[in-house]
């Protein structure tokens, strides 16, 4: 790793020869995981627990004629079979989505996608529950499905949402950003305009642990305890209260260790609700865990954006404007998780990292007979689609003008002195030094040498490609006045208690799915107050024991909860100053802070450590007026703006001209996430995201046949990279702190997923220059690459 700027070494850490605060630190969560002692959802076992299994629709679109559950109910192990009709009686057959739509919990009138939930069996054990599914007899009447989103708005398209009164088409929303007239004017006077149709196909987060829940309803005190694979336990609690009518104080949501989320575990799935109903009906705890096919076929997908991109530029490569229209395939229910005001998430950032004169986008959302969900898979609310669009389009322009892709980016970057930068869709980029990151990536790659090698290989008929991408991310939602999810403002609480002996507990609303929160947040507290990370307990994932907050997605843990933790620690430190002053019989302003200790200015021997102050606070020290006898604090942090991490990626591929097989030879990633808390964890986040990007670029897709059968419903068909498809990642970083974040951190969780797909596809297209290829839609499977070499395009899902 190469660094341009490093934080100064922590003096306390150096003096004590151990890590305090920021820096590489082994994870506090690892000792349990490496011993097989993690506690995941399926490890939850309660006395008398029953097991649920879900019957799902084999059709993409069909009328539900009848359901006969009698044979299943006669199965000796079965306790209950729940259908949509049963839920109608409880007013639970339909539930609000995260996007102001409604979705079926169990189908009542029609099924609208293959894999939709139809009936729920509760049985003694998981084997009996599965067996009983075979005994349920459902009669369907098949209806023509809408699979190709481009045909969803045709006059003769079957109407999918007949449940919505007055609905006569499959249109969900139109949304625009930027100035259309201004953009058109710039396009009209541009030297050159390039256009391209770019599909970002439907993909799936596919965390290694599938989704599940264990519901335990206590009929005596009316309390529901619900273990769930959720990235957002507090939001879930509130939603259950609204949907199920259980008072919110009688709902406790526990999110145990999570085996990966990537956005897949944000929403509430019908299986969770059915587990709750199952527990209420049977009076026993009910566990439901989906299998892999259920996960891939029915839970939140990602992307499915059909984009038309246009770039206007001068002949010498100055980009003037970007314009795009998007058809967004939202599936059967509009269930995407994103801030209410933004039906296309933060797609605004399709303006990229470039100083434009104008920009405009229009996104149209439509229903199709596919699984609902969306905005999942490490995408920062549609930033992945936006970055992919602009970074592909910049390469299309570079190709047209014969300018090197790195050079054209360098020429158009927003300059450091332009920050904070107001982009043309109304967003304020907080900070950036783009050229520095780009140059570092080029140095690490040996860019000029790679181009020389490529030229030599082309002479010999070998296909080598160099893909360049520069992305600007936008993460850390809120601020709460602009951003909410179903009315809940996107701010996060944090609570810190320093115990009498100087050990601490910090409570968070966000939930880790592998990001190492127990370590990172302890390090933030440690950095601010000097208590070693190992003396700080991080509590999360239990709504009865943590303050309210919106959860972990959109890379918001560090930008929002990280801010909350820094602020709450500072609040505790401010209080500690008052108590220390009382203990030292001096004025608070006469004290100076150094890591872990207040001392009297000019007399360092007169001081109190945080542990001494904590004991004083809880002891018999006479406290100043208005100071309580503890060393605790609470805050809710409302971020003033989003943060804007960025990075420069270079991918090198080799393609076998005879087979079209793409091999990723090298991948260089320079990331800037502002202040770095734990470089080991940051590097891990980047590696994972890069692998996601290679997966999406080369192999991952949830495709459908014309009848709406899902063609990616198992890991035999939904391919995820193994260790054989990815190189040893080459990472570097620059540090451009966020000016508005308490510790200058910007977040890193999704940067690499956002940035890497275009780097890979740009490399593939670059390799195929001898064949005149301008664009290939993902995934660049051998077949699709070879077809592109023949000048042919292979559609996905009829697109």
């Amino acid at each position: 790793m190469t660094a341009i700027e490093e934080r100064p070494a922590n003096p306390a850490a150096a003096a004590e020869n151990r890590p305090i605060g920021f820096g590489r630190l082994q994870r506090k969560e690892d000792p349990r995981f490496i011993r097989g002692k993690g506690h995941y959802l399926d490890d939850v076992v309660l006395p008398g627990m029953l097991h649920g299994a879900m019957l799902r629709s084999p059709y993409a679109h069909a009328k539900l004629i009848s359901i006969d559950t009698s044979a299943a109910l006669a199965h000796p192990g079965v306790h209950a079979v729940i259908t949509g009709k049963d839920l109608e009686g409880l007013n639970l057959a339909w539930a609000p989505t995260l996007s102001a739509d409604v979705m079926a919990i169990l189908a009542t009138d029609k099924v609208r996608f293959q894999g939709q939930e139809v009936a729920f069996v509760v049985a003694d054990d998981r084997y009996s529950a599965r067996d009983a599914l075979e005994l349920i007899d459902v009669e369907y009447e098949a209806l023509p499905p809408v699979i190709n989103a481009r045909k969803a708005l045709d006059a003769d398209a079957p109407v999918i949402r007949t449940d919505l009164e007055g609905r006569t088409d499959n249109h969900i929303f139109d949304w625009e950003a930027g100035d259309a007239a201004e953009t058109d004017a710039v396009f009209a006077r541009a030297d050159v305009v390039v256009t391209e149709d770019i599909v970002y196909p439907r993909v799936h987060p596919a965390p290694m642990e599938t989704c599940g829940a264990v519901a335990d309803y206590d009929p005596i005190d009316g309390k529901l305890t619900l273990w769930e694979t959720t990235q957002a336990p507090h939001a879930h609690r509130t939603l259950y209260a609204i949907v199920a009518g259980i008072p919110e104080h009688k709902i406790r949501v526990i999110s145990p260790d999570i085996g990966g989320g990537f956005g897949n575990k944000v929403g509430i799935y019908p299986g969770y609700v059915c587990a709750v109903v199952g527990s209420i009906v049977t009076g026993k705890p009910v566990k439901w865990v989906e299998d892999r096919s259920e996960n891939l076929m029915s839970t939140s997908f990602a992307r499915d954006y059909l984009m038309h991109g246009e770039v206007a530029a001068t002949n010498d490569g100055k980009i003037l404007a970007v314009r795009t229209t998007v058809l967004a395939d939202h599936g059967a229910f509009n269930a995407t998780a994103q801030p209410t005001k933004y039906p296309a998430g933060f797609f605004h950032i399709f303006t990229g990292s470039y100083d434009l004169e104008a920009a405009h986008c229009k996104v149209t959302g439509v229903y199709t007979n596919k699984a609902p969900g969306g905005v999942a898979y490490a995408c920062s609310f549609r930033v992945t689609e936006a970055v992919y669009l602009v970074e592909r389009m910049v390469d299309v322009l570079a190709l047209k003008l014969g300018i090197d892709p790195a050079e054209i980016r360098l020429k158009n970057f927003i300059k450091p002195e332009q920050f904070p930068y107001q982009n043309k869709t109304g967003w304020e980029y907080d900070s950036g030094e783009y050229e520095r990151a780009m140059r570092m990536a080029m140095d690490m790659a040996g860019y000029d040498e790679l181009r020389r090698e490529q030229a030599e290989k082309r002479e010999r008929g070998e296909l080598m490609g160099i893909g360049v991408t520069f992305f600007t991310e936008t993460v850390g939602a809120g601020p709460r006045k602009h951003m909410d999810i179903v009315g809940l403002g996107m701010a996060d609480g944090a609570e810190l208690r320093v115990h009498p002996t100087g050990k601490a507990v910090v409570r968070l609303s966000v939930q880790s799915q592998g990001q190492g929160h127990e370590t990172t947040f302890a390090q933030i507290v440690s950095e601010e107050i000097g208590i070693p990370p190992e003396d700080i307990e991080v509590v999360h994932g239990d709504t009865d024991n943590t303050p309210f907050g919106l959860g972990t997605y959109g890379s918001r843990s560090t930008p929002v909860s990280g801010g909350a933790v820094a602020m709450v620690t500072r609040k505790v430190r401010d209080k500690a100053r008052l108590i220390a002053a009382a203990m030292l019989e001096t004025r608070p302003e006469d004290l100076e802070w150094e890591k872990g200790r207040f001392f009297v200015k000019g007399d360092p021997s007169q001081g109190k450590t945080i542990a001494e102050i904590a004991m004083g606070a809880h002891g018999t020290v006479t406290l100043p007026e208005g100071v309580d006898g503890n060393l605790d604090a609470e805050v809710t942090y409302d971020p003033p703006n989003l943060t804007f991490p960025f990075g420069a990626y270079i991918c090198v591929v080799d393609i076998d001209p005879g087979t079209g097989v793409v091999k990723v030879r090298r991948f260089i990633a320079v990331d800037d996430c502002g202040t770095r808390i734990n470089e080991m964890i940051i590097e891990g986040q980047v590696h994972g995201g890069l692998t996601d990007g290679v997966g999406m670029a080369l192999m991952e897709i949830i495709d459908f046949d014309e009848d709406g059968n899902c063609l990616g419903g198992s890991f035999m068909d939904y391919l995820i990279p193994t260790a054989m498809e990815v190189p040893d990642w080459e990472t570097g970083h620059t540090v451009t702190p966020s000016p508005h974040h308490p510790i200058g951190a910007k977040g890193i969780g999704e940067s690499a997923t956002v940035g890497s797909p275009s780097a890979v596809v740009n490399a593939v297209v670059d390799a195929l220059q001898p064949y005149g290829v301008v664009h290939i839609d993902m995934p660049c499977t051998p077949s699709r690459v070879w077809e592109a070499m023949q000048g042919r395009h292979v559609p996905t899902a009829g697109v």
């Binding site: 011993r35 198992s714 260790a723």
Partner: protein, 174 residues
């Protein structure tokens, strides 16, 4: 039917249906929940355990078929309060994030190192190619296994702090 096998050195016997998958026998019958599962089609390798020292996918082995054989799970990696070097390596080199694929990865790594104490990078990548990790991008897993190869058991670096609890062996339900 009656199923008897050796799990992490202890002989265990239990009644189970013939169709019970080994992964469910370990998790649900023996309570050894360190072995995870992630698919239904033998593609993800999360459920890897060692059967007679050889890594196999326990979702595609019936418990009945494992009867009479020796099974080693993640709970049996540490011995006598000492972590296996592979476990230590995964902590040192950040070979895990969510931890869900980790037990299977570590067991495959152990089997690999038993066969080939000093594998090169390609050999390591090939050995774990039947197992999917969605978090790490594999590079740190490769480094973790290399760390373990460089710190074999008995060398001082592989020793773990005294607070490491001894791994209990499975309780056998009556």
């Amino acid at each position: 039917m009656k199923i008897t096998m050796t799990v992490n050195g202890d002989s265990v016997t239990s009644e189970a249906e013939p169709r019970v998958l080994l992964v469910h026998f370990l998790r649900d019958v023996l309570g050894l929940t360190g072995t995870h599962w992630g698919c239904d089609t033998s593609n993800c390798g999360l459920c890897a355990v060692l059967m007679d020292g050889v890594p196999v996918k326990s979702c595609t082995v019936l418990a009945a078929m494992a009867s009479g054989h020796e099974i080693r799970t993640v709970e049996g990696l540490a011995t006598g309060g000492t972590l296996d070097p592979v476990q230590q390596g995964f902590m040192e080199e950040h070979g895990l994030q969510c931890g869900f694929c980790t037990p299977g990865m570590m067991l495959t790594a152990r089997a690999l190192l038993d066969k080939n104490p000093d594998p090169d990078e390609d050999t390591i990548r090939e050995a774990i190619s039947g197992q999917i990790c969605r978090c790490t991008g594999y590079a740190t897993i490769v480094r973790s296994i290399k760390w373990a190869a460089a710190h074999p058991a008995g060398s001082s670096q592989a020793e773990t702090p005294a607070e490491t609890p001894a791994e209990e062996t499975a309780e056998v339900p009556a």
